[in-house]
């Protein structure tokens, strides 16, 4: 009889153990505190999707902080806008409109961005150049038209591209820190921070979020991902690198372990237009004035989101071999390439982050 009871108790014990392994009782968030994970999505900043993942005690608390973050991003959006003017602020459009006419008084944050852009231009030997606005504007016009009316999609003429490329010398951008002004000495030049603006804004906004007291969060503005701290349970964030091959069953080519690090990708598969069956992406190689066609995508991992954004654009404008050699000269920067045939290539230290 005793044995029967022992066996019964044993069985009961195993059942209880199984019950204990149910997700609810193991959920660390439930056990450690009352923090819940929330996600806020906005579509009104930088013409892309912004996602904020964070933890808060209540939804109200999270929404309140998300609103502040959105305001901050909107501020950068207005500042870097080249298409619209806003009352009470001088933005990039103002500087472009005053090219060859007069210096424009701007916010110190604009001065900081422009200085950073010049720094990145020098670091990448001009592979990312915010003074390329005139060339980018031509491609923007043709792309918009080609997307709206695919039957009539066309390529810009070499002549008009070369004419515009004659007005892209970053030395014509005169930053006067003491006076707080920016001036384009070449009247036909214009600025476009498409290759670095979002990343720079993410960096600044992430610093602002930390000032607000949030330490563990994930901020993504159009795929410029800033992973702050860890998840609430202490595990790292996971960032997927999108597979350029849309027909593949695998949504990601790689997943990255992210903790206090930024991941940014530049690719040819999302923003492009098609002319005679060939896709032309939105990233323009300063050397050819044509869309870069070296690789499908480049992803950069580094501490600073602005640097990550600038480097992903610059390295996308280089053949993989040249890009790899360049990345290896930089400290604290890792990169991954998806080549046109789908092959993956990694910088020497990337494996630390690979999942």
């Amino acid at each position: 009889m005793k044995k029967r009871i022992t066996a019964f108790l044993l069985g009961l014990g195993i059942l209880l153990l199984c019950l204990l392994m149910d997700t609810r009782t193991w959920d660390p968030l439930r056990n450690q505190g009352k923090l819940t994970r929330y996600t806020a999505t906005f579509l009104d900043v930088f013409d892309t999707r912004t996602e904020l993942v964070g933890y808060a005690k209540t939804e109200e608390e999270f929404t309140a902080i998300a609103e502040k973050i959105k305001e901050k991003l909107m501020h950068y959006h207005r500042l870097y806008d080249i298409y619209q003017s806003y009352e009470g602020i001088n933005n990039l459009r103002t500087i472009n409109e005053q090219a060859g006419i007069a210096p424009v008084e701007v916010d110190t944050e604009m001065i900081d961005l422009l200085k950073f852009a010049v720094e990145m231009q020098e670091m990448t030997s001009g592979k990312v150049n915010i003074a390329m606005g005139s060339v980018l504007a031509i491609w923007h016009r043709y792309r918009e038209h080609g997307v709206e009316d695919p039957e009539d999609a066309r390529l810009p003429s070499l002549g008009e591209l070369e004419e515009a490329a004659g007005h892209t010398d970053p030395k014509a951008l005169i930053i006067d820190e003491a006076a707080g002004t920016a001036y384009l000495a070449d009247g036909k030049m214009s600025l476009d921070v498409g290759g670095i603006g979002k990343g720079y804004a993410v960096q600044r906004t992430a610093e602002y979020i930390k000032e607000l007291g949030m330490e563990n969060f994930l901020l993504s503005v159009g795929g410029n991902v800033y992973a702050a701290g860890t998840k609430a349970d202490g595990s790292h964030w996971t960032v997927g690198i999108t597979n350029p091959d849309k027909d593949s069953r695998e949504p990601y080519v790689e997943t990255v372990k992210a903790e206090d690090i930024c991941v940014v990708t530049s690719g040819d598969y999302q923003r492009y237009y098609t002319v005679d069956g060939k896709n032309y992406c939105h990233i323009i190689d300063p050397n050819t004035n044509f869309p870069a066609e070296y690789v499908s995508s480049v992803s950069i991992i580094t501490k600073d989101s602005g640097v990550a954004d600038a480097l992903s654009t610059a390295v996308f404008n280089m053949p993989a071999k040249e890009g790899k050699a360049f990345i290896e000269t930089l400290e604290g920067v890792e990169a991954m390439w998806v080549l046109k045939d789908g092959t993956l290539q990694y910088s020497s230290g990337f494996s630390v982050y690979a999942q």
Binding site: G11, I14, L43
Partner: protein, 127 residues
């Protein structure tokens, strides 16, 4: 009673098997999510509709200005099959089935997300 009887052994086997099945069941339920996923569509921040993923459903989501997104719920996934937007990023997007995943149509300010259900292991993505 010094020897374990056949009945005792049988009882042990039955109980162990039962516990294993129960355990396996819970493990499985844990893996696939104990709650059924629901696709939530928002337009300009307002909830437009909720669609259980286990059902099959097709809907042309019409917006005030005449633009539209064609939503299909099938095989436990939500997908946009057609849309009036020129960039077609939402149409090109893969179907979604897990929490943390979303399809966004920027021109139409439409977002499809998944509530409940299994949560994706990936927290965010670059593109």
């Amino acid at each position: 009673m010094k020897k374990t009887g056949k009945n005792d052994l049988l009882l042990i086997v039955v109980l162990l098997t039962g516990a294993l099945i129960a355990g396996a069941g819970m493990w499985f339920a844990r893996g696939t999510g104990t709650l059924d996923g629901v696709a939530v569509v928002t337009v300009d921040g307002e909830v437009y509709g909720r669609y259980p993923l286990k059902e099959t459903w097709e809907e042309r989501i019409e917006l005030a200005d005449g633009s539209y997104n064609y939503l299909v719920i099938k095989d436990g996934k939500a997908d946009i099959l057609e849309a009036s937007c020129p960039d077609r990023i939402c149409v090109n997007h893969r179907p979604i089935e897990k929490g943390n995943q979303s399809i966004v149509c920027l021109p139409n300010k439409l977002i499809v997300t998944v509530e409940n259900g299994e949560v994706s292991q990936v927290d965010s993505q670059t593109y």
